[in-house]
Symmetry: C2
Subunit: 487 residues, 2 copies
């Protein structure tokens, strides 16, 4: 909003993450929490612009991988919803129901989709007929609604969030498993390479998988302070949904067979939240270069005497870069240069170009890089080359700072005492566990309640560490698992 000086964040990120995040969201004008329904927030332009760019990148990659887009109704009849038993049990506590329209009470309740399996697979039974239709890969970009009991946090968790969901049908289990691998590759390419958030994939325990899935493989983001945040997960649904929804195809051998289904759900709004949380610093937002709503801001340092020349130079610079970058000339006359610096730092604009009378005297400008606050004086004739160099390496530099090595975050533990110590030191714990099946649920429950941590599951691949005993009950350990505090 115009004319207000943006005051900095008053706490340090590492001292009080929650308060830091809340202030960042407010002061960078990312979301407004004053909307009058609990758990529903307004995404302001600054976040929306970036979220739209993230959608574009994600959709583009999914299409390259052979997915086609579609748009489904957002309401699901109760009868569809009830077809898969585990699914209904898992989701029904979270469903918003439409029961009236105009002054009519509807004959059947309609669910606001919490996820679209039960809308889509009803249609897949019409669309998938022959092996020639397979693989059948579709996605939609949409919002979903979940009546969350947990406390909400803008972008991280809300009662309405914005995601992509991809739903695929294959002829064989092997094809489906390969899709899960592709989903993981896509996740790495997006979350790490484009959004600079370090992740690791775990196979979730039986008690924490997607309702109706055979297995869930979820990416956990490695946030600061040793916590993890679940980002996209991909689910092997096998034939669990094909059966009740009748998703069958006639194979080459002329026999009718059930399709093998996978689904994958990157929650773009949550990934955005993870990105601002992971990348941001005490000055505010930091964004990958290509996701910034403004990439270069030009700020004139105005004194009455030199005002005309300074503004003219600023306009020239804006014009010079406009064809290659998203440039903004901030020539508001009711804000001071200092207020402008703070505001654009808070908003994470990667490059700031300051132009004052002294700069002009030297045929130069002052250049400031957001992610490392480096300031330099650059001759105007060298400006284009300098800006290009910063722009080209900006995202790589941000990644260098943020993409931690998973192994550096982990500590092996053999006793619960060691676990407590490790968690205190903001480590992710690796230890033995009886299993990841339901027989281990009691062990999981006790440790999760006592230590306020959660069992993230087993590493998807390349596990080299073995433990003899379950860290909780001491029985022989079938699995090596990871424990962490989570958001």
């Amino acid at each position: 909003m115009a004319g207000k000086a943006v005051k900095g964040i008053t706490v340090k990120k590492e001292d009080d993450f929650s308060e830091w995040y809340t202030q960042l969201v407010h002061k960078a004008e990312l979301a407004d929490l004053r909307y009058n329904i609990k758990g529903f927030v307004c995404y302001l332009p600054w976040s929306t612009i970036t979220i739209k760019k993230m959608y574009d990148k994600y959709e583009h990659l999914l299409e390259e991988k052979g997915h086609l887009p579609l748009i489904m109704p957002s309401l699901i009849p109760e009868e569809n919803f009830k077809l898969e038993a585990e699914h209904v049990e898992g989701f029904i506590p979270q469903v918003f129901w439409v029961t009236e329209a105009g002054d009519v009470k509807l004959d059947e309740k309609l669910a606001l989709r919490p996820t679209s399996e039960t809308a889509l697979y009803k249609m897949y039974s019409y669309w998938v007929r022959s092996y020639k239709d397979l693989p059948f890969k579709r996605y939609q970009s949409c919002q979903v609604w979940r009546y969350e009991g947990k406390s909400t946090r803008p972008f991280f968790r809300g009662r309405e969030f914005h995601w992509i969901e991809a739903h695929n049908v294959f002829a064989t289990e092997e094809d489906a498993r390969n899709q899960v691998l592709e989903d993981m590759e896509v996740t790495h390419l997006m979350i790490e390479e484009e959004f600079a958030i370090p992740i690791i994939f775990f196979q979730r325990p039986e008690w924490d998988k997607f309702p109706g899935a055979i297995h869930t493989y979820a990416a956990d983001a490695l946030m600061d302070s040793g916590r993890v945040l679940q980002l996209p997960s991909t689910h092997l649904l096998g034939t669990n949904f094909s059966k009740p929804f009748n998703v069958k195809f006639v194979d080459k051998d002329n026999k009718e067979k059930l399709g093998h289904i996978t689904c994958y759900g990157p929650a773009i709004s949550r990934i955005y939240g993870a990105m601002i949380a992971k990348l941001g610093d005490d000055q505010g937002l930091i964004l990958p270069f290509n996701l910034a709503p403004v990439q270069i801001v030009v700020v004139p340092i105005i004194f009455e005497k030199s005002k005309a020349q300074v503004l003219k130079k600023c306009q020239e610079i804006e014009k010079k870069f406009k064809s290659d970058y998203i440039v903004k000339l901030d020539d508001r006359d009711y804000a001071t240069p200092g207020e402008k610096f703070n505001e654009w730092e808070m908003k994470g604009v990667p490059i700031r170009i300051e132009v004052g009378p002294k700069d002009l005297e030297n045929d130069s400008v002052t250049l400031v890089v957001r992610h490392n606050t480096k300031k330099s004086s650059v001759k105007i004739k060298d400006l284009r080359a300098h800006v290009k160099k910063i722009a080209d390496s900006y995202t790589a530099d941000v990644k260098k700072k943020n993409l931690v090595k998973f192994e550096d975050e982990v500590q092996n533990c053999d006793t619960l005492e060691e676990v407590k110590e490790a968690i205190k030191k903001k480590k992710i714990v690796r230890c033995g566990f009886c299993s990841l099946e339901m027989d281990a649920y009691a062990c999981a429950e006790s440790i999760e309640k006592d230590l306020l941590i959660s069992i993230r599951g087993k590493k998807f691949k390349d596990e080299k560490e073995k433990f003899d005993k379950c860290i909780v009950c001491g029985k022989p350990a079938k699995e090596t698992v990871y424990l962490a505090k989570s958001y």
Copy 2:
């Protein structure tokens, strides 16, 4: 769906538009109507891809005109909804209500937004504070839900549709009126220039304006068969909503004033429907070149002997054009060339390149242009230039065929008998009318019921024709109005 021969549309568009449209939607695989909630349909990939391109173009232009995007919750508390009396009266019969979540009955009913005034303006009262914030121009791309009584038709009218809504606040009525003009310009640039649909703007009668508006200016698409279809409308809301929602700003003179609000709602899914209806022909879909999901399809004519060479040439052609166009090589071996021709014609692919052994012998290919079915043999060395020429002029050619002159569609009438004749001849009627205020509602009602037509309002500008008497009651005519059959 794979392997099925696409049979042509079995009726002519001009003989039975409704049946033609239904078959087109089905056979070009644009939407599936089998979803099990009345009035809700699935948009299939072929329509979704084009709709996404339309959104991109529209959003880009709105942003160029100074609108910023945001994302609002899709649920609106009943209390917001009831703040503006005309608005609530107009919309309440159409609202879907969420009344339950999980197993909880909600304290307050939540409306699935039928439009977002009452969600947004609540927030605008926080966001707009000073004259420095003005003009305040925002848009969101989203879906809305309306419990439509009228019969639905895919894309034209459904209970969930996809639109953009722009909502703007200005310091003065004059600024607001200028925004209405800008909205009209945007509409022409999009609907006519990009989507090739002829439109004309009318100021709607009092009884047909947006609930809560001072005036509504709506674009009517001039469809074949003399019918019109309402496309985007822009509304001058004045201070009707600012008052109850408290959208005020402190002006330069330090006084608090009410903001002047306008809103504009292009329904992208409906515009898509209008486009396929207006542009399509008896062979199926025709699309502007830049909106086609596939721009060039390469079809090999395969005989066993020359199969390898033909396929190789097709792959070369695909590769040649891939960097500049969206090309698809249709090498399915379970469909005949004839089936493929029909399918891609039905789907409106602008350019078809056929490659058979005879073509190869002559170092040429066969080129077919969808919108005029012109077929030519082109030497391979000239292919790039030929394709570029067709591509560059394709949309202009489609527009030439479709952008009729409004005056050619109109007939002046002085009696109801003449009106009947004109409507029979598929004309839009121009005539005198007592007024467009509520005192003329009785006249409107009688003629609309008797002749199954509607009063579209008065032309927004440049009206040269004057009539002495109202065509219904014979009293002096204050206005020159237009009557037409509408979808």
